[in-house]
């Protein structure tokens, strides 16, 4: 018994919004055999277990679907367009530059493609990766695990919960906890708490937000009994609870990219890529939250669709740029995406770069320069806030020297 060897035109790894968007668009554009591999039994990615609304406001008519409905619509679009969607198939490694090995209940395969699109998504850093000390009792979740437990498996969670983080995903976690009948006793964030937090929340959620506060320990043996916290000013407390959810703090799921020796961007920790979604490995594209943990499902879907044109171009022309200058940010900016200059002059999605900052910046002036030469300056009208996207126009790209040094984006 060995591996069944096959070839396809385009292989897409990951059946979330980005991979499904790419599959739909490529299949519709006559890219040949387009195959999407999804390791879960059901395609659709993270929206499958996000039972709140607000999905696809931009790309699907109306004010937004629930996550599962959105996931289903992405799946339907890809299948309708003629992409082959295979679930329960895991890519386990590379066997060549554009060849992967897979495992599925139907056996082992070795699939070679003319182009590979990585769409493996992102995950939240668990408690351990955040180096939160203390004991290791049951009752510790990420939002992803919590939502699956509640919405896909109807599991019992607990009675009193603390949510770590104060971003949209944190509030989604709090909502899921309430659906599961769990009291959310506090949200804890190391950032300043938003003023009048309770009033600014459409849900009317009055959960106290402890700002400038870090988690110093988890306690409990058979079950979590509390979360010890310390405020910036030195005050400490232990919040009694049996459940804690660590939210946000996303990291791209870059294992396959790294195993394939795709160079990563030091800021996003996803593959370095240009506006055409090309990595530094010939024929390997990347889309979605693998590139930037984490943008909305709508952005991931749009990126998936947008990659179709460059993939088709590559299938026809076969060329691949080399030696592209990186686009990098200076602190307190955290990352920028895309992060390679596209020598063909292409612009990123919606003509703009997406960025993150480590701390709040009120109407920051962003300055773009290369080799000591200023390419662009742009003042943002709104504050830049941690964990929320903000954008930099891309119309300076034609002034960048494709043979020059790193393009730096800094705040003045």
């Amino acid at each position: 018994m060995t591996r069944h060897e096959r070839t396809v035109d385009v292989l897409i790894v990951g059946g979330g919004p980005a991979g499904l968007g790419a599959g739909a668009e490529l299949a519709a554009s006559g890219a040949g055999r387009v195959e999407i591999l999804e390791r879960e039994q059901t395609a659709g990615g993270v929206p499958r277990h996000c039972h709140h609304g607000g999905f696809g406001g931009r790309t699907i008519g109306g004010g937004g679907a629930t996550g599962p409905a959105y996931a289903e619509s992405c799946v339907a679009a890809a299948v309708r367009a003629g992409a082959t969607l295979r679930t329960g198939v895991t890519v386990t490694g590379w066997a060549g530059p554009l060849t992967v090995d897979t495992t599925a209940p139907t056996g082992l395969e070795r699939i070679t493609a003319r182009a590979v699109i990585l769409a493996t998504g992102a995950r939240e850093r668990p408690r351990s990766a955040r180096l939160v000390p203390g004991s290791r009792p049951p009752g510790v979740y990420t939002t992803g695990e919590l939502q699956q437990a509640v919405h896909l498996y109807q599991q019992r969670i607990g009675t009193r919960a603390v949510v770590i983080g104060d971003e949209p995903v944190s509030r989604a976690a709090a909502d899921t906890l309430r659906v599961a009948g769990v009291d959310v006793v506090a949200m804890v964030t190391d950032r300043p708490a938003p003023k009048l937090a309770a009033l600014t929340r459409p849900s009317g959620d009055r959960t106290p937000v402890l700002g400038r506060t870090i988690v110093t320990a988890l306690t409990g043996r058979e079950r979590l009994t509390g979360v010890s916290v310390r405020h910036q000013d030195g005050r400490t407390a232990t919040l009694r609870c049996d459940t804690v959810v660590f939210t946000g703090d996303w990291i791209p799921d870059h294992e396959l990219a790294r195993r394939g020796e795709v160079t990563l961007d030091p800021g996003t920790r996803g593959p370095a890529y240009d506006a055409a979604h090309r990595t530094d490995r010939t024929g390997v594209f990347a889309v979605g939250n693998l590139l930037h943990g984490v943008e909305s499902a709508g952005v991931a879907l749009a990126e998936g669709r947008a990659v179709a044109a460059p993939v088709l171009r590559h299938l026809t022309a076969g060329d691949w740029p080399t030696g592209r200058p990186a686009v990098a940010v200076d602190s307190p900016l955290r990352w920028i995406a895309p992060n390679l200059v596209d020598p063909d002059g292409g612009l990123p999605l919606r003509g703009r770069f997406v960025l993150r900052t480590d701390r709040r910046l009120s109407s920051p002036l962003l300055v773009v320069s290369q080799d000591g030469r200023e390419l662009h300056r742009q003042r943002l009208l709104l504050p830049a806030v941690p964990d929320r996207p903000f954008h930099l126009r891309g119309d300076w790209l034609d002034r960048a020297d494709p043979g020059g040094g790193t393009v730096r984006v800094s705040v003045h």
Partner: protein, 474 residues
């Protein structure tokens, strides 16, 4: 014969009243207790293995550095030196037979300053005195060639080519599986509260009722001193010595090829960097003497200290993601040796002070204890061979089910991956849940399959794995 494993309810007595229920009872189902139970299973004895926890290997045995030691640095002439040396050979052979993953990666004792460098020849001589003859000194250049990611400033090393890494979870599980299959009774959630010793039997009062036994073996690990005192002996005190460790992502595995040991100082053995058989990289342990035998939490100070030490040893390691942080407690006694003592007149053997080398020495300790038991008035009879056992492979260096086309063709459940980070299939989870020594918690399932052990710590598979566990729960 179906194995007898109980986890709740009164311990049943099916003998005429007054007669001892068991010939031998082993208290403590850690790696040492399980090894002893397995050894005794070779004889025609009625043997019980008790543990306060809900699983075998659930204390010190589950949270260590998972190294199969050569004993090169033991105190020459000590009981520990002999049992580690002998145990290493026994366990290596046993692992090969049963499929417990072992990788002979070798160790490098790295000298970071002139003083440490000057210590290496003495350590080489000590290895020789411990009957270990394969060690040799490496210069800075050779060291650098062997470990190119080592931090700057390493001056040389002592190479111990036979130091190995082993699976700390399948080892006690293999012992317990063989023991219960051969008729040893395993009683879990069974804490010993009090012991009455009569002329021909001990009566143990446990949280699950009384149990009578002619011979008693104390392999209670951190609690061995307390059990000893129940029988009126005050030979030693166990001081829990906490070791905190950080497990780095599998993507860090290419950074290190050997177990990187520090040169030991008066302050202890120090912090090592080592690959694991699961394909991760370990950094640790700390050594903190505590008075709380349940203090298995990690602390911010220790994590910071480990990161600082790790940065010196392998700077790139610190850029990698952390998969887990854990802490284990060694049973330190203030003595540089094991505290194994037989009291034939009391039909009682204490197996105490088995510190970090317990995993390596376990089979030799078990053989030694069987000898002591034979010398304390118990007629062991003739040993028989135990039917062989094959353990599921949890090691990354050996073929796993998701890679086995024939296995998947025969049973597609082995091609259905549930835990993606660790590539654990539904078939392996099913097998573990139906195994002869099944898990009683998702954590126990994790130690039998690796499910949930990976970088996402359950983001993707936590709920699914818990659902499979709940479904199979009796």
């Amino acid at each position: 014969m179906s194995p007898t494993i109980t986890t709740a309810g009164e311990l049943t007595v099916d003998e005429p009243p007054g007669s001892p229920v068991y010939d031998v009872t082993v208290v403590g189902a850690g790696v040492v207790g399980a090894a002893i139970a397995r050894e005794l299973a070779r004889y025609r004895l009625r043997t019980a293995l008790l543990d306060a926890g809900d699983d075998i290997g659930n204390g010190t045995s589950k949270a260590n550095t998972a190294i199969l030691h050569t004993g090169f640095d033991a105190v020459p002439g000590s009981l520990e030196a002999r049992l580690v040396r002998e145990g290493q050979h026994r366990l290596r052979a046993y692992a090969a037979e049963t499929g417990i993953p072992v990788e002979r990666v070798g160790a490098l004792l790295v000298a970071w300053d002139e003083e440490q460098l000057a210590t290496l020849p003495a350590l080489l001589a000590k290895a020789e005195r411990n009957d270990y003859h394969a060690a040799r000194l490496l210069g800075a250049d050779e060291l650098r060639a062997r470990e190119p990611h080592l931090g700057p400033g390493a001056l040389g090393a002592l190479e111990i080519p036979d130091e190995s890494i082993i699976c700390p979870w399948t080892t006690p599980l293999a012992y317990a599986t063989q023991a219960v299959r051969a008729g040893v009774h395993l009683h879990l959630n069974c804490r010993v509260r009090h012991i009455e010793s009569g002329d021909d039997a001990h009566t143990l009062t446990t949280t699950r009722g009384p149990l009578r036994t002619r011979h008693l073996i104390n392999a209670a690990g951190l609690y061995a001193d307390e059990l000893d005192r129940e029988l009126g002996h005050d030979d030693f005190t166990v001081t829990p010595r906490r070791g905190q460790l950080i497990v780095f992502d599998k993507l860090a595995r290419d950074l290190v090829d050997h177990i990187l040991l520090p040169v030991p100082t008066a302050a202890g053995k120090g912090v090592l960097v080592a690959p694991t058989v699961f394909g991760n990289v370990l950094l640790g342990p700390t050594a903190e003497d505590l008075d709380d035998k349940t203090a298995t939490g990690s602390t911010a100070d220790a994590i910071a200290l480990l990161r600082e030490k790790g940065r010196r040893i392998l700077p790139e390691l610190l850029d990698e993601e952390v998969t887990a942080v854990y802490a284990g407690l060694r049973a330190a006694t203030g003595q540089e040796d094991y505290r194994i003592r037989s009291r034939p007149e009391l039909r009682y053997i204490t197996v105490g002070g088995i510190r970090s080398t317990g995993l390596t020495a376990s089979m030799a300790i078990a053989a030694h204890v069987a000898d002591l038991l034979g010398g304390s008035g118990l007629d062991l009879g003739t040993p028989h061979e135990l039917p062989p056992v094959t353990m599921p492979n949890l090691g990354e260096a050996f073929p796993r089910p998701y890679q086995d086309a024939g296995l998947i063709a025969a049973d597609p459940a082995y091609g259905t991956l549930v835990c993606h980070c660790e590539r654990v299939s539904a078939g392996e989870i099913r097998d573990a849940l139906a195994g002869p020594v099944p898990p009683h918690s998702p954590d126990g399932l994790r130690r039998r399959t690796r499910a949930g052990n990976g970088r996402c710590q359950g983001f993707y598979c936590g709920a699914a794995v818990r659902a499979l566990f709940e479904e199979a729960r009796p």
